[in-house]
């Protein structure tokens, strides 16, 4: 068994796929560089990300898939589902071994699993377009912290850029420890460390003087539009699963209330 060690990027994984074909490797598993749980008795091969190799795989796939099917691959990769690299590789093998476009062959696991993973990422990215809650700082930056199940920042960037074209904003993924920042011109990726549990005093120092008022208005609004006699907790939790609550203003009780 050969373990292919790549840098965790999509291009890195595509390079690894290229090398499997280039060196006719059999019986491979993928591993990200930082993961140290090296398999016993396995040979390790280091993959150095090479855009030329990655592009050749992409071009091959683009010719054999619809636009939607081609994008699904990237979506599935970002799902970070267990063994997603292997799932995707089995799909790629099937694509290259068939004379026709196989993305509709949903009764085959190779195809169905990729569709499921892509669907998961698509859903999560839609959710994050909804669940980002910006807070305004004293120096006019709108910032938000999210902890999505999948690595969706690359997918939601354009949406926020189009929508909030006239305000500086930062969305930080606390799980993956990076964020995207818009400076009124471009969006760039930033790496930084956020204090995980800032005290209310330090927030008061950072935040705009009206920030807390708006948060309370929103909580108040959220409460007022509920119809008590239609209470349906199951449905509420289905749409807003509890794991997201800690970053949702309306689900965080206001501790400073007089």
């Amino acid at each position: 068994m050969i373990q292919l060690l790549y840098d965790g990027s999509y291009e890195g994984w595509l390079t690894a796929v290229f090398e499997i074909y280039e060196y006719k490797l059999k019986d491979v598993v993928f591993a990200k560089e930082e993961i140290s749980n090296t398999l016993l008795f396995s040979e390790i091969q280091l993959v150095i990300t090479d855009n030329a190799k990655a592009n050749r795989v992409l071009n091959g796939l683009e010719q054999r898939l619809s636009h939607h099917g081609f994008n699904n691959l990237y979506f599935a990769f970002l799902s970070e589902m267990g063994q997603i690299e292997e799932i995707l590789f089995r799909f790629v093998e099937y694509v290259f071994s068939s004379p026709m476009n196989i993305e509709g062959d949903l009764s085959r696991n190779e195809v169905l699993n990729v569709k499921k993973a892509a669907h998961l990422t698509g859903k999560e990215s839609h959710r994050m377009k909804a669940f980002v809650r910006f807070k305004l700082t004293k120096d006019n930056l709108y910032y938000a912290i999210i902890e999505p199940d999948c690595d969706v920042l690359p997918l939601i960037e354009q949406h926020f850029k189009n929508r909030y074209a006239d305000q500086r904003w930062l969305i930080y993924d606390a799980k993956r420890k990076y964020g995207i920042y818009y400076d009124l011109e471009n969006v760039s990726t930033v790496e930084m460390q956020f204090e995980s549990n800032p005290s209310s005093r330090s927030l008061a120092e950072i935040n705009d003087e009206n920030e807390e008022f708006f948060e309370n208005l929103w909580r108040n609004y959220f409460k007022s539009v509920n119809i008590e006699s239609r209470k349906n907790t199951k449905l509420h939790i289905k749409h807003m699963p509890k794991r997201y609550w800690k970053n949702l203003t309306e689900k965080i009780p206001n501790l400073n209330k007089r």
Binding site: S107, H126, A130, N162, N220, Y221, N226
Partner: protein
């Protein structure tokens, strides 16, 4: 001090607006321009209240002062409640403040009728105009068209709003007469008709000149209150069908009546909200809009009400067993969509996958299709799946037994005896 007052107004005027159930924020084509604020797209639900409903827009009344006394309405003149009114600037600031924090997709603004229709409508228009022209706000705006307002004002509203709506509220003229003596259907239909023509005119003009200014790009919608009066589902769906076909409505909303009054013309306080019926009406509405069903296939004079215990598609299938079983390996997409347990996404998956192999029951399960429900209506050629001839009642009871319905409690009267 000022902040406390705004906080209180928001509670009052959001509470009064919440019985208007429309929350859709998609279907508009407005894009961000000149690096301003906001755009519209497929629609996003930013939060969900504890009753499970979507929060997509800041839905408020400009004021809950009202000269009308409609029995079903919480803001009726004779109701002893706290009254409040926002200023134009307050609504603008709330909308922008919420939008910039990504709480909402935009604004849904309605109002009680203070003074007269034109005066009210003029205020609503002033707010949207300010948002569009002074704040360069390109987010979604749903505006109520006030019955009786002048056509000039309605036209101006259409130039700035994404969607306009006039609520018919009561499905029939008699009910409206009974509960809202100040209103009649004619007043409601007239602005709908005007808006319909303006919207069609805009769409035509746009074909020849893409620079034509937007006019209510997300169309118009309306709402009917369900269960306050004695109309049956045939009357309700018939009315809805009229709105879809004659008024080119994008949506008709059904709002299960929430008892809010001791008025003896209405269900008493404490009567449960008819949530199941409301759900069945939405299901029927979906079948008409997306599944190619005709309203007459779902309800009719011999069948004026939807079944509460089963969904309308299953109800239709049980009344039309002669159309089954269907062979999913050869049938048209339109027919596959009509099989209970198979939605239009599943139907598409089936049609894609069957090009590669003959699909078997295991394959359907894998695709996520509710096989245990659909199996009564399917035929497989190989191996031939012999379905014993079951009567509609037998099929119904088998399906009801295997599903764990969220509404089960409402139907198990017999069990409650033990």
């Amino acid at each position: 001090m000022e902040q406390e007052r705004v906080m209180e107004k928001l509670a009052i005027l959001a509470d009064a607006a919440k019985y208007d159930v429309s929350c859709s924020s998609g279907q508009s084509t407005r894009k961000n321009k000149n690096k301003g604020l906001g755009d519209t797209g497929g629609g996003i639900c930013h939060a969900f209240t504890e009753d499970g409903r979507c929060v997509s827009l800041l839905k408020i009344l400009l004021t809950n002062h009202c000269i009308f006394d409609c029995a079903y309405c919480v803001s009726r003149k004779s109701n002893d409640i706290k009254r409040a009114a926002f200023t134009v600037q307050e609504v603008v600031d709330l909308t922008i403040g919420f939008y910039r924090r990504n709480y909402i997709e935009g604004l849904f603004l309605s109002s009680g009728i203070f003074d007269n229709a034109d005066y009210t409508m003029e205020r609503l228009v002033r707010i949207v105009k300010k948002l569009r022209l002074e704040e360069n706000f390109n987010g979604y705006i749903h505006l109520k068209a006030i019955p009786g307002a002048s056509e000039e004002l309605l036209k101006e509203a259409g130039l700035y709003a994404d969607r306009l709506s006039v609520n018919v509220e009561m499905p029939t003229e008699q009910s409206l007469k009974l509960l809202a003596p100040d209103k009649n259907h004619k007043d409601v239909i007239k602005p709908m008709q005007y808006l319909k023509n303006e919207i069609i005119g805009y769409q035509e003009e746009k074909k020849s000149n893409y620079k034509t200014p937007l006019f209510a790009p997300a169309g118009q919608s309306t709402q009917m209150v369900i269960g306050a009066t004695k109309e049956n589902d045939l009357e309700i769906l018939g009315m809805a069908n009229y709105f879809y076909e004659q008024m080119k409505m994008r949506r008709v909303y059904y709002s299960g009546y929430v008892p809010i009054s001791y008025d003896n013309r209405l269900p008493a306080i404490g009567t449960p909200v008819p949530m199941i019926r409301e759900n069945r009406l939405y299901q029927a509405d979906w079948l008409i809009r997306y599944y190619g069903f005709n309203v007459n296939e779902i309800v009719g004079f011999d069948q004026p009400n939807l079944d509460l215990d089963i969904d309308p598609k299953l109800g239709w299938a049980l009344r039309n067993l002669h159309q089954f079983p269907v062979d999913i390996n050869s049938a048209d997409l339109e027919l596959i969509q009509r099989i209970p347990g198979i939605g239009f996404l599943s139907a598409k998956k089936i049609v894609a996958a069957r090009r590669f192999k003959k699909l078997q029951p295991e394959d359907l399960k894998k695709l996520g299709i509710a096989y245990s429900r659909s199996k009564f209506f399917l035929a497989f050629s190989s191996p031939f799946y012999m379905q014993k001839d079951l009567t509609p009642i037998q099929i119904k009871s088998q399906i009801l037994n295997l599903q764990n319905s969220k509404y089960k409690n409402n139907f198990s009267n017999q069990l409650a005896l033990f």
